[in-house]
């Protein structure tokens, strides 16, 4: 953690946005399992459940916002680290690893919750794939800061 671009507040922030995305997906899965006898509630949930994947994917944009602001804020720090001997490659790897660690931690938490509620364990996997894509794209951006 010593050489990481992440501060504790950043880790908390990233965890929070991941948790929000997984929670939204979990909420949809939960609503699907409820045996609703109310027509009003059924018709209320129907349009949301129909577009579950789209809504969840759009919601993951808050993770993009996190990566974007994180990189914007750390621009100078990345350049300074390179000035004092660090390499863009190592910074990129560390950044990606930190993000992946937080993602793995939150994913494990969500898996535990899914196990507890007997939900499908692979229902969250598409989110993991999306987040890994975001991490790779943002890690690629870190390398660009080599030339400040």
């Amino acid at each position: 953690m010593k050489k990481s671009l992440f501060r504790p507040a950043d880790i908390l922030e990233l965890s929070a946005v991941y948790i929000l995305c997984f929670s939204l997906n979990f909420a949809f899965d939960y609503v699907k399992t409820i045996d609703l006898d109310s027509y009003i509630l059924k018709s209320y949930f129907r349009p949301f459940l129909e577009y579950q994947l789209l809504i969840v994917i759009l919601f993951t944009f808050i993770v993009v916002v996190f990566h974007y602001q994180m990189l914007c804020r750390k621009k100078a720090e990345v350049f300074c680290r390179i000035l004092v001997g660090d390499t863009a490659f190592h910074i990129t790897i560390r950044y990606a690893m930190d993000c992946l660690l937080v993602l793995m931690f939150v994913y494990l938490l969500s898996t535990l919750v899914n196990v507890y509620w007997n939900f499908n364990l692979i229902s969250n996997l598409h989110l993991v794939a999306i987040f890994i894509t975001y991490i790779l794209i943002s890690a690629w951006q870190v390398r660009k800061y080599e030339n400040f």
Partner: protein, 405 residues
């Protein structure tokens, strides 16, 4: 205006990711609010409508869910006996819809027949656009006076006739259009008050005792399912239940005004409360994320804001710029919700879904406009929260520090 253009092109658009995320968050908040408001409004419209029928002394019939319906045991003699008993001892409101007939029209829609007797017609108090009220005093071999929906009135104006080959009495009949219903006249489902069928492509068919006696078993039996017994008592409906059981082998429940209100309070109000709570929680979460997004924007654009403040931009002018910017984002979202709703309404026309087809400004009906108004109010509240939070954050940072950053 010049400074606003500068802020948009040189500051906000340079960090477009934040603007896009704000649009997406607002879009979710708007869609949730719109859906919930429309559901609640639609339920209360249905509730208002049932008030005409659900009066003291009236009992609404409902087939017991545990009653097994064996069509082999039900015959015309049984239903005739029930209607003879009803005609002798009770006043009742009769209503059946959903019978589709082949009636050519310029919009090529399926036409639905809604059968109702005089008591139901008077209780419901239909509003007419043209023509006169229904008359229930007619002979089956004469032209039968009917009302048509606005959509159908284009092909069949007041005074025209409609020939129906397959009617509920098994003979071709001729209908005479006596009046046109107000646009978007509707009927709410008693058991799903938020669900409506619109009469724009329906024919309101008057039913008298002679017609019921000659009608086929489908119409007679369907008519009993939602029949409302007027000005009667518990004992009265208990006797009728026995007659229904003896002649048709079916168990019917009859619900009084108090039972219907209790059911509404228990079932609908409970559902509406759950819906309102879910909406509130989701909106609170989305608002918090939007505030976080706004604070991220301040964090990233602080340098630009403070430089402008240093060279003479006042906080009140900055506040104004933020409000205009947020107003623009809200407008984009409102336009999205508006287009989505208009497209959904238009979809009914494309699918030729006659019971859901509606008329209105840009395809939206009153309920949609009211829900949009609620969305506008919500956007104003969220906007005030976000802009004031952003400004408080900016004010807390000294200008010199901001410029240094």
């Amino acid at each position: 205006m010049k400074i606003f253009k500068y802020f948009i092109s040189k500051i906000f658009l340079r960090k477009a990711v934040l603007g896009i995320s704000m649009i997406l968050l607002l879009c979710m908040a708007n869609y949730i609010t719109f859906t919930s408001s429309r559901s609640i409004l639609s339920t209360f419209q249905g509730y208002q409508e049932t008030k005409y029928i659900n009066q003291e002394g009236n009992y609404i019939a409902n087939l017991d869910p545990d009653s097994h319906m064996d069509m082999g045991l039900i015959n015309e003699n049984g239903t005739q006996a029930v209607y003879s008993y009803l005609n002798s001892y009770y006043n009742y409101a009769f209503y059946v819809d959903g019978f589709i007939v082949s009636v050519p029209n310029v919009d090529d829609m399926e036409v639905h027949l809604s059968y109702m007797n005089e008591k139901y017609y008077k209780l419901k108090q239909f509003e007419l656009l043209q023509g006169v009220d229904l008359s229930f005093d007619y002979q089956l071999d004469d032209e039968i006076p009917v009302l048509v929906g606005k959509g159908l009135s284009k092909t069949y104006p007041v005074g025209s006739t409609i020939r129906i080959e397959e009617s509920a009495i098994g003979l071709p009949i001729t209908l005479k259009v006596k009046g046109v219903l107000k646009q978007n006249a509707y009927h709410s489902n008693y058991y799903a008050l938020n669900s409506k069928t619109y009469y724009n492509f329906s024919i309101l068919f008057p039913v008298n005792k002679d017609f019921i006696n000659h009608a086929n078993i489908d119409l007679q039996l369907n008519g009993l399912m939602d029949i409302t017994i007027l000005q009667t008592s518990e004992e009265g409906v208990a006797d009728l239940s026995e007659v229904l059981k003896d002649n048709l082998g079916l168990d019917f429940n009859f619900f009084s005004q108090k039972e219907n209100y209790d059911y509404f309070n228990e079932y609908y109000l409970h559902s509406l409360k759950i819906m309102a709570t879910i909406t509130f929680v989701l909106l609170a979460v989305i608002t918090c994320i939007s505030v976080w997004n706004a604070l991220v924007s301040v964090r990233l654009m602080l340098k630009d804001f403070t430089i402008n403040l240093l060279v003479g931009l006042s906080y009140s002018k900055l506040r104004k710029i933020f409000y205009i910017y947020f107003g623009m984002l809200s407008f984009i979202n409102l336009a999205v919700v508006f287009i989505f709703t208009a497209f959904n309404r238009y979809g009914c026309w494309i699918r030729k879904d006659a019971t859901f087809v509606t008329y209105g400004l840009f395809g939206l009906i009153g309920m949609d406009w009211l829900a949009l108004l609620v969305v506008v109010l919500l956007d104003i509240i969220i906007g005030i929260m976000i802009v004031e939070t952003m400004l408080r954050k900016i004010k807390r940072i000294p200008i010199s520090l901001g410029v240094l950053q």
